[in-house]
Symmetry: C2
Subunit: 354 residues, 2 copies
């Protein structure tokens, strides 16, 4: 049973809970806003659903609320941000802010993170940079225990779902893409398993490397693997995922096979389009490109051509009015944490925790 909450209410509750586990106000608010914005934009899997997990981790020491974040400018145009295992969103926001500062001053910049917790929706950070009139690219790896994704031609996982995100400023909403380099994230496979449904073909191999649509054959044990993006040309998805791994581990001086590493390895690359083209003209040209792409008549089964980010910005506008759906399991977990931490939840909502 899902309930729908106004985003302001949800943000207030999430911020209070983050504060209750030790986050300073500003960092609690940032984390809350980021989770709720992901939900608002329809990325529920990276939204408030994650809040109970974050609160658990804060209790166990995996997340260190309020941990100092140190920025080392390793050159004019580069920086390493040590996030100290603060909330991932706090660390990643500090990193993109540094990237924006660098690109403002030097036109191009590259910033990576170390000791960064789960950053959530990677698109959030490139979106923040595009709002400052910059083109931003982001990659995000995960350490060895999340290596569900097969290398092309292999039958044992060697990479995580390793997303690539980008944002490009335009006259309206930015172009905003955020895509895993695998066919599907592990979380989606789990949903099929929980619902007892067969997977779409082409998603996974079993432990013997044979195609299967049975989610149980993927989980094993022994475990199978998720295929890289691209189907018959999955070597392309594999190549992209491998680049994400290089930028998330080797560049940060971290070994891919180090079992002690945890969290996300993020790399941001920022480009100031004004270094090449007056920003107004650049945005006009991007607007023209968007219009041209959308002018393609739809193929059967589609109503229109949508550019990257359009689905998310529509969801955002809708849910700002309608509220954010929160599934019952998530809500119960939030209410439990609220009870435990003595955080009040508004009238009529608390009962769900009972």
């Amino acid at each position: 049973l899902a309930r729908t909450l106004p985003h302001e209410t949800l943000t207030r509750i999430a911020a209070a809970l983050c504060q209750a586990v030790g986050a300073p106000v500003a960092e609690a608010e940032l984390t809350a806003r980021e989770l709720v914005t992901s939900s608002l934009m329809g990325h529920d899997s990276h939204g408030v659903l994650r809040l109970p997990e974050y609160l658990d981790l804060a209790g166990q020491g995996g997340i260190v609320p309020g941990a100092p974040i140190s920025v080392e400018r390793t050159s004019e145009t580069t920086a390493v941000v040590d996030c100290g295992f603060n909330f991932g969103a706090v660390g990643a926001h500090r990193a993109i802010e540094e990237g924006v500062r660098i690109a403002r001053a030097h036109r191009v910049g590259c910033v990576i993170t170390r000791r960064c917790n789960h950053v959530g929706r990677v698109g959030a950070y490139v979106q923040a940079a595009a709002a400052q009139d910059l083109i931003a690219l982001a990659t995000c790896n995960s350490p060895v225990h999340g290596h569900f994704v097969l290398p092309w031609g292999g039958k044992e996982g060697r990479l995580a779902t390793n997303p690539i995100a980008y944002a490009v400023p335009s006259g309206g909403d930015p172009l905003l893409a955020d895509l895993s380099t695998s066919v599907a994230p592990e979380g989606k496979v789990r949903v099929y398993k929980n619902e007892g449904r067969p997977l779409p073909p082409g998603w996974v191999l079993d432990a013997d490397g044979r195609p299967t649509t049975d989610p149980a054959a993927f989980y094993g044990p022994p475990r199978g693997g998720i295929l890289p993006l691209g189907g018959p040309t999955g070597y392309k998805g594999f190549a992209l995922g491998l680049l994400v791994e290089v930028l998330g581990s080797a560049l940060a001086g971290v070994s891919t096979t180090d079992q002690t590493v945890r969290g996300n390895g993020v790399c941001f690359v920022l480009i100031d389009p004004a270094a090449f083209c007056p920003i107004g003209r650049f945005k006009e040209l991007v607007d023209g490109l968007i219009a041209y792409v959308k002018s393609s008549p739809p193929a059967p089964g589609f109503e229109e051509v949508l550019v990257p980010g359009e689905v998310e910005f529509r969801a955002l506008r809708r849910r700002l009015g309608e509220g954010v759906p929160v599934d019952d399991v998530t809500w119960r977990a939030i209410a439990d944490h609220a009870g435990r931490l003595g955080v009040g939840v508004p009238n009529g909502l608390a009962s769900a925790g009972g």
Copy 2:
């Protein structure tokens, strides 16, 4: 009937022909070397097969051999390279050289091209940068008349096959990827058509936006379109292709729909890994990643896991010894140009032109 020529012979002939149409020695040799290296690495479609086309274009004014190339450093870290419609390889090499220079001095750089002819194998340029211990990314768009690739959900082409390439230095061969953001390039569809074979499913839609395996239904008229990379998640390939278009057109101040634009819009982004991690350690970590990925047992139908570039470097080593296969049509065209331009071809080879 293919013949096989030693790569030195082929390079000498190609360079002599480029010189004969007006290229200065160094530029003729660079263009020849680039074409032959593409063939050596197994990318025949971007190899010497293109030489006759280039010579034709030089005759018609589409390629301007010896055209001055101007480099405008628009900031410390950015440059625009106006290639003056010289051979594409000459322009693109000048651009990556500038990028290497920038990244050496400032750790990160971004260089774009204008008025750049067909650059051939995009991987060539990032490979050159990796040989200088830099991480390099490249994107390459093509103008409106090459827009064979469908936007996700659409039935009219709006993008070219828009490749993305990258290279990462390692202790051995670099990681080297060069991938189109469509399922297949138009050239491959043409091969199926010429051979009267049905296409693999999932490559193209007909002009009504319906899936087809008939190459003729793709060509029409009316023409259909090639699907973006990703099959059921083709919105990911579309998102990547759209980014390539932004970096190839809007960033260069060029409109996507401008019918007068021709050639490739290239964008290079370079990162010096030494800004983050001592280069020796970085390469060790990349070597460790490669070994880890390759340690996955192969899936049925595969003999081993290969990392991006491995197929190409193996082909290179083999063909350096065995020579470069040149198909009969290409050889005849080369011999015709040689006859027309008074360029001698070695003993016993010329007869093919008769």
